[in-house]
């Protein structure tokens, strides 16, 4: 008899967003897991960072972020959009936070997604031991991995931690050949928005076996209101989104000397 106990695994999420079409193939449902290892200054989901259940003001009214929920319950929502996944080859995406901080829950969710027969994806920096990631890979079709910078010190300065382990994990994931790995780079003014910095990431991405796509995600300030709602200062101040022309230059820089296809936006 099969063991379905993974459906009873509990985890902490802060949102489920349906009809997501900018993260992965087709029409998707994103489950946002709460808690993150990094504190990136530009983070547009500050309510995702702390594992604690928090209250944020939304349109003048308090709203609670953070809910402990079983995989079975999450899948009840995910399942509702089956007709759209079937038509678009879409499915379930895990995002965060860093999903790998709740490894058992993440694994169980992806396992349940695989049971539904839909495409599974995870947005993650790879912040975990590779042995943890290895457990998840059999259930994962697409790994959307952030590499924000190649310089560990600059990474630490802007995100709170060095990225050495994550960069190494990228290579291990790529070598496993078990999932489609796509590298994503948030383009942040003053942090990594020069052609040299982007080209360095692209060169590394190109060295990863099987990786043929890199996505550049231009900085936006849509998260600013949330910082106010949480009573926190907005770390990016009045930084502007990169212009389209600049993004095109960065795209050219990423594609120059690599075999990568570079897409602007998810």
């Amino acid at each position: 008899m099969s063991d379905y106990s993974y459906l009873d695994v509990k985890g902490r999420i802060f949102d489920i967003q349906r009809y997501s079409i900018h993260d992965g193939i087709g029409i998707r449902t994103i489950v946002f897991l709460k808690g993150c290892a990094l504190r990136c200054r530009w983070c547009c989901n500050p309510e995702s960072q702390s594992y604690d259940i928090e209250t944020m003001m939304v349109n003048g009214r308090p709203r609670t972020y953070g809910e402990d929920i079983t995989v079975r319950e999450v899948m009840q929502t995910v399942r509702r959009d089956m007709p759209y996944y079937s038509r678009s080859d879409g499915g379930l995406t895990l995002s965060g936070g860093e999903s790998l901080l709740q490894p058992e829950f993440a694994e169980a969710l992806l396992h349940a997604g695989r049971d539904l027969g839909v495409n599974t994806a995870m947005e993650s920096m790879g912040f975990a031991d590779f042995s943890t990631i290895e457990r998840i890979l059999p259930y994962l079709d697409t790994y959307l991995m952030d590499i924000k910078h190649m310089d560990p010190m600059k990474h630490k300065e802007w995100c709170g931690r060095e990225n050495t382990r994550m960069v190494e994990n990228a290579m291990k994931i790529a070598r496993s050949g078990m999932t489609k790995l796509i590298i994503r780079v948030p383009v942040i003014p003053g942090f990594n928005d020069t052609e040299e910095e982007i080209a360095a990431i692209a060169r590394y991405a190109d060295s990863l076996p099987g990786v043929d796509e890199i996505d550049l995600l231009p900085y936006h300030n849509f998260g600013q209101g949330k910082y106010e709602g949480l009573g926190r200062p907005y770390p990016m101040g009045d930084a502007k989104s990169p212009t389209t022309e600049h993004m095109m230059r960065l795209k050219a820089a990423a594609e120059r000397g690599t075999d990568l296809y570079c897409q602007i936006g998810g």
Binding site: C44, D81, Y84
Partner: protein, 843 residues
Amino acid sequence: MRNFDSTPAAKSDRIDRMVKHLFHKMPEIEAARAELITESYKSSEGLPETTRKALAFDHILKNLPIIIRPEELIVGSTTIAPRGCQTYPEFSYEWLEAEFDTVATRSADPFYISEETKRRLRAVNPYWKGKTTSELARSYMAPETIRAMDHNFFTPGNYYYNGVGHVNVHYDRVINEGLRGIMAQASNVLSRLTVCDPEYATKRRFLEAVIISCNAVIEYARRYSRLAKDEAAKESDPRRKAELIKISEVCAHVPEHPARSFQEACQAFWFVQQTMQIESSGHSISPGRFDQYMYPYYEKDIDNGVITRDEAQELIDCVWVKLNDLNKCRDAVSAEGFAGYSLFQNLIVGGQTPDGRDATNDLSFMCLDATKHVFLPQPSISIRVWNGSAKELLIRAAEVTRTGIGFPAYYNDEIIIPSMENRGIPLSDARNYCIIGCVEPHVPGKEDGWHDAAFFNMVRPLEMVFSNGMDKGEEASIHTGNIEDFTSYEEFKAAYKKQMDYNIALLVNADNSIDRAHGERSPLPFESALIDDCIERGMPLQSGGAHYNFTGPQGFGIANVADSLYTVKKLVFEEKRFTLGELARAMQMNFGKGFDEITAREVAEQVARSVAATGETVTDKLISDTVKSVLGMEIDPAEKARYEEIWQMIDDLPKYGNDVDEIDTIAREAAHFYTRPLPNYRNPRGGIFQAGLYPVSANVPLGAQTGATPDGRLAHMPVADGVSPTNGKDLHGPTASCNSVARLDHGDASNGTLFNMKIHPTAMSGEKGLEDFVSLVRGFFDQKGMHMQFNVVDKETLLDAQAHPEKYQGLVVRVAGYSALFTTLSKSLQDDIIRRTAQGQFR
């Protein structure tokens, strides 16, 4: 699957110039038709009505001024002024005289009218006093029906004041056989008619009228042939001269004879489309499956090298421009309900052939491209989607949607065909369906569907449950008991059903009275000639000559009713947060959120009535004082706080449109309260009623006649449109919204349902955006949704267009079953469109 060429053909440079000419000034009302029909009627008194109609049609077509507009390839204009309109005093005229001085300045669909035209119309209109269809219809109605209409439970205004229209005719027969073929059929039936046939008198008169009318259209085409020849003689530009000579040849041949080329087929189509609208003032005369019946002519000309694809595209684009040349002036109230100068000429591509194969062909693509080229509200272009639809066609349709024009509307064969079969239509006819007007499925050339027969406001009977049948101080409906006495949700619901049943029966009475009046006063021999089986049966369409007969009145406000029932179930009976009496008072006091002018005026009218009843005189001062005191009324702060608290509790409840099974099930039941009783009623043409669930744009004006409702909707705000969730209340994205809507029983609303969705442009960007959009439509249709249409425009653009209309003259938006120029809509309708939730924005 049939092979097709989907590569886009070029856009001719004449199209933009033709569009500019068409829109260079405000549309104008002309008097010629009213004068001609009056002249004819004065000289035909005493003859049978059918004969008089045919003689009048002939007289009009012989004498109506004609014009060929610059650069046209397809000719035939009903007015000298571009986008002008004629008037139709035989249906009704009083409203226009009353609105002579405001029609040019009103907010919805203004028309210019010259002093000279007013004088000419005033001279002929009096002849029609006592002779119009609307007067006869009213005389047939039950007193309680008139009372229900006065209290705005429903409005049958469409056919009450106008011709019926709302058909698709045998364009294919005129193109393939020529009007000579139709006349030969009529002569044949006439020759077989025996003198002892009990219907000899009416049959003979009708068949003769058919022949007169067809001949009138042939003569009309010949006038254009001569005009083109005259203009060619004067033309100095050799290219245009050649075009005019060609036009002259084409109009000498069609629609009298079978078309010999694609251009002749287009011209024959156009004469039918145009002259039908001269015969009566009915709108929604819908070209239907243009890509199917035109295809053989296109294919033959392409195969024989007679025409290039670019030339064929240019002809199609020219037909599209012509469809925008026709116009109609409605009364001010109806203009709000059908805002945007729309004639709802629905033209549909794709779908299946009668034998069940995919129908996609080159023209399916070229029709969609024509809409992109011309970028105007007509035709209302639609697309049929089925499990075997060509994906390229859906992607091309999505590209048109992405332009923001609001076209095409998407229709689901997989639910429409079975729903038609359920009404007794055989499979092959059901597979051949087209769409009439907004969203109404229809058998081409065989049906008189009387679609759009009335707007029924499903929220008003709910108000009557709370008031026990009283409205504005008067008895307006049946008594269903004191609201404070209901002890369960089921009792409350049963009362609502009773109120619905009572008013639906009155709606049937109104429609049947009008139907009878059209049968007696408005037989239309030309239209009848082009629909089966009128000729064979010797009977006009208006007497029941069609092969299939229906009456399709539409209900709207499902979202409000569902959310209201849920409020009562949840907050009153399950959680006991407040009583029904308390809710009734909160609604009366508009949830403590103040009163508007409409309420103030309603109260003043009631005061005036009761003062008048005592025999005292009602002074202007009394009225203005009452209005002032209502507007400035202070309610007790504690009471006000409680009403606001109640509103907040209601607002916090989940609503229809969020994929919540419990509420969606209530919505399904609420829709059944409207759709299920109707097919039990019969119309005078021998058919049954069938429900539609769509509002055109009437949800705005009729909402303004509806008080606050238990779903938290404030007094006089728009009622939810069609089957869509209440604006701004669907918070979980398009898939959740679609799932809720799909949970309704669309198959039971066989006169059509309408689902509006606003999509943010970013959700459709790139190739992936198009693919995901098609998947969204597919996913909704897989669950038996019936129809979907989209506004792809961001809120900022609409707000800017409201503030600076001069910058957005060409901004076309989806209103209801049609698109219109945004800047021509009234402020309240613009606001309603802006409020529709935009789906798919970035997180």
